[in-house]
């Protein structure tokens, strides 16, 4: 039996499983064989628990015979190593959590499990989701499937590379400042960051609690809609989730854009943007116009402050969230400490990598005595202005189109010694997290060098349907 894993979608696999063309065990076995031959070069997965995956696949096959149905029944998915799957490792790609076994399922995982998903393995990432290249993993460097000399983006680089490299049908990532969308753009897959409060964060290891969201990374917009529909909704374990009805997101996937107003923010078409990226996005705008969309100019005047605000808010929240890693309750403890203070200091020094240390120091600094008002409070106020920009823009358009990133994927090692340059990768993506709105990256035709480019589609809060609609229409038009 042969599978085209480079493009096999959830929708196709589900149809084949339903009609009995193959079983989940066939599908998962073939995918495991493929990971075995390819992942030593790609390094998308930190671990793959083959026995566990096959056991779940056989259970899904039995459930189907017993009459169970479900959008993900028997479908294998890869999970970013930041999300707890009961009984599986969850290292957050950090040395400090080496050997940790998750004692419970995250809510998003429990919902996927109820829908019949098969958990394949743990995808690589930047340590604690801090980075834009997955080079900050304590364990391995993931390669870009389009060009092995280049990074897959980050922090959900393993999840993006697994999908684009045909080592998963779909994966979950998390996005705090672009960590789903930027790797999706770099690797050439779909990546959706939902509205803040759309998907429960319970069981997601917290980086910046007011910005983090879990989202799907898939081959198609339809698959992203399917996975989002399974995960979304209120959860009593995460009081920031909102009690907003979860629609059938696949019903929103129309192929024309008649009556849709798409905003182009001039602040996202900046000098220094890569020429290929600019021309692909301009082409995408024309494709959308051709599908019936009305293109309008909008302005998001506080965009230039977003990176500054993001690196204050995200690091401040991270410095407090990561205080829990102290060698007391879980993870690795440094040897030879004489008292608890000594133990905390040594454990954290040995357990965290350099980018995590950098962000903890910065976050602690902006919260420390005398600087709170000048940095943290002020950043929160500018955050209000950034939200206001989007609220005003969505009065005159239904969705906004931008490039996901200013450039295609860069080379491994190119930015690793320059934190500032690395941080600028988030320039077009961090705004959606600050505003709490949904945003998705959809692949454009690649550059002359064959490198993927991403079109970012942003919508108003809880406007996932319009984001998916625009993404699907564009994707179908480009595919023809």
């Amino acid at each position: 039996m042969s599978f085209n894993f480079d493009s096999l979608t959830i929708a196709e696999a589900q149809a084949a499983l339903v009609c009995g063309a193959y079983t989940s065990e066939d599908l998962v076995s073939a995918l495991i064989a493929r990971i075995r031959t390819r992942d030593s070069a790609l390094c998308a997965y930190l671990t793959v628990d083959e026995d566990y995956a096959l056991e779940q696949a056989r259970a899904a096959d039995r459930a189907r015979l017993a009459g169970k149905e479900g959008p993900l029944l028997g479908v294998p998915v890869g999970i970013k190593d930041l999300l707890n799957v009961e009984g599986q490792p969850c290292t957050c790609a950090s040395r400090i959590l080496a050997g940790y076994t998750a004692p419970y399922d995250a809510t998003a995982i429990a919902r996927l499990r109820d829908a019949g998903a098969v958990f394949l393995g743990r995808t690589n990432m930047d340590e604690f989701a801090m980075g834009s290249s997955t080079e900050n993993s304590a364990y391995q460097v993931t390669r870009n499937p389009a060009d092995a000399d280049r990074v897959p983006g980050g922090s959900s680089g393993g999840s993006a590379a697994a999908v684009a490299g045909g080592e998963a049908i779909a994966t979950l990532g998390t996005d705090t400042g672009g960590s789903i969308r930027q790797p999706a753009a770099f690797c050439g897959c779909v990546g959706l960051k939902p509205t803040y409060g759309r998907v429960s964060r319970y069981g997601l290891t917290a980086f910046a609690s007011s910005l983090d969201q879990i989202g799907p990374m898939t081959h198609t917009v339809r698959d992203a809609a399917i996975v989002l529909g399974v995960m979304a909704g209120r959860d009593p374990m995460d009081s920031t989730t909102l009690d907003v009805p979860v629609p059938d997101y696949t019903a929103a996937l129309k192929t024309d854009l008649k009556g849709i107003r798409l905003g182009l923010p001039r602040e996202y078409f900046v000098d220094g943007m890569d020429d290929d990226v600019r021309s692909r996005i301009n082409d995408a705008v024309e494709v959308c116009r051709g599908l019936g969309a009305e293109i309008v100019d909008v302005t998001l005047p506080h965009t230039e402050y977003a990176i500054a605000v993001y690196y204050v808010v995200a690091t401040a929240e991270a410095s407090t969230n990561l205080a829990r890693f102290d060698g007391v309750r879980y993870g690795v403890r440094a040897e030879g400490a004489t008292d608890p203070i000594d133990m905390y200091g040594k454990t954290r020094a040995q357990g965290f990598g350099s980018e995590v240390k950098r962000r903890i120091i910065l976050g602690t600094y902006v919260l420390s005595g005398g600087y709170y008002d000048a940095y943290y409070l002020k950043a929160q106020k500018v955050r209000t202005l950034i939200r206001g920009d989007f609220e005003a823009a969505f009065k005159v358009c239904d969705a906004i189109l931008t490039p996901t990133t200013p450039t295609p994927a860069f080379k491994v090692g190119e930015n690793i010694d320059d934190p500032l340059k690395m941080y600028l990768n988030d320039v077009f993506t961090a705004t959606a997290n600050l505003a709490g709105i949904p945003a998705m990256s959809v692949p454009c035709p690649p550059t002359e060098l064959g490198l993927p480019v991403g079109l970012q589609i942003l919508g108003p809060a809880f406007g996932e349907e319009v984001v998916l609609h625009v993404g699907h229409a564009y994707e179908q038009a480009v595919k023809k």
């Binding site: 204050v312 200091g345 005398g370 008002d373």
Partner: protein, 101 residues
Amino acid sequence: MCETKQPDVAKIDVAYVANLVRLRLDEDEIRALQPQMEAIVDLIKKIDELDVSAVEPTSHASAVTNVFREDKARDGIDRDRVLANAPAEVDGQFSVPKILE
């Protein structure tokens, strides 16, 4: 409120901040972090261009304030499974180095 205070970037005391957050850094790490912190704080100071004295802060993008549930006991995660991840355990409890002599 001291909105007008302009922190002096040159005075970031990395060792002091590291101690606040219980992170032991060696001399090489502190030396490497010093210019990086200054460059990042320089970037962050861009927000000083804006007058936000009349703007309310956003601490959270979601529209909820207080969320209540019934005050009813419910089961947590089983103790043995939690302790299975502990670096050191004695008699069903986390064990740490001695605090008092």
